[in-house]
Amino acid sequence: MITYALGLAMVCFGLGLILNLWRLAIGPTVADRVLALDTMVVNVIAIIVLFGIQTGQGINFEAAMLFALTGFVGTVAFCKYLLRGSVIE
């Protein structure tokens, strides 16, 4: 039963990634694209965690943690650049 639920959840997050990619392509402003990229990072973290459940190996959760760290820093740096014109003043 877990196998079917896992498949359904992975399909849902994968469809979410495709929708985010669409918003990334058509987004009217740069801020919309940054938001779409941030949501893509969240969805990819969820997919990595679900893959970790499927394989039963612990190495995937470290990859998810690295993704969370770099996604946050990237989003904040991009917003800082859009707001102030430079990342570190």
Partner: protein, 130 residues
């Protein structure tokens, strides 16, 4: 016991997947930029949160033991999601798209992110050419 835990895990996974799909669909569906900022928070809290709780319970169930990485990922996502939302809404406000459509503050001064007086706090830093 194991069957009940399996049902709990399946419910958590299905709920997380549906919330993640809803958040990403809202990113496409909603019209306004501030509304679009609202939708993916559902995916980042409930979607990823239930997936991580399911992962922790599954690790306990199959016997590999409790692992701290899921707790760390959950704490990090829950701490950083408001910060990124704050920065993105600031970018939206400063792009001057709204103009008169912004709601009134109710007091005499404007929204705090448009304050000019906060720049006086900068000279505390040492100057670069000293």
């Amino acid at each position: 016991m194991t069957f009940a835990l399996e049902i709990l895990l399946s419910v958590l996974l299905v709920v997380g997947g549906i919330f993640g799909l809803t958040g990403s669909y809202g990113l496409i569906r909603l019209k306004d930029r501030m509304q679009r900022l609202h939708a993916p928070t559902k995916a980042s809290t409930i979607g990823v949160g239930t997936a991580l709780i399911a992962s922790m319970l599954h690790g306990l169930m199959i016997g590999t033991g409790f692992s701290w990485q899921e707790v760390l990922v959950m704490i990090f996502i829950f701490v950083t999601a408001p910060i990124t939302a704050n920065y993105l809404s600031k970018v939206h406000l400063h792009s001057r798209h709204y103009g008169d459509a912004l709601p009134k503050t109710g007091v005499s001064r404007d929204w705090a992110t448009f304050d000019r007086t906060t720049e006086g706090a900068e000279p505390m830093l040492p100057s670069r050419d000293s």
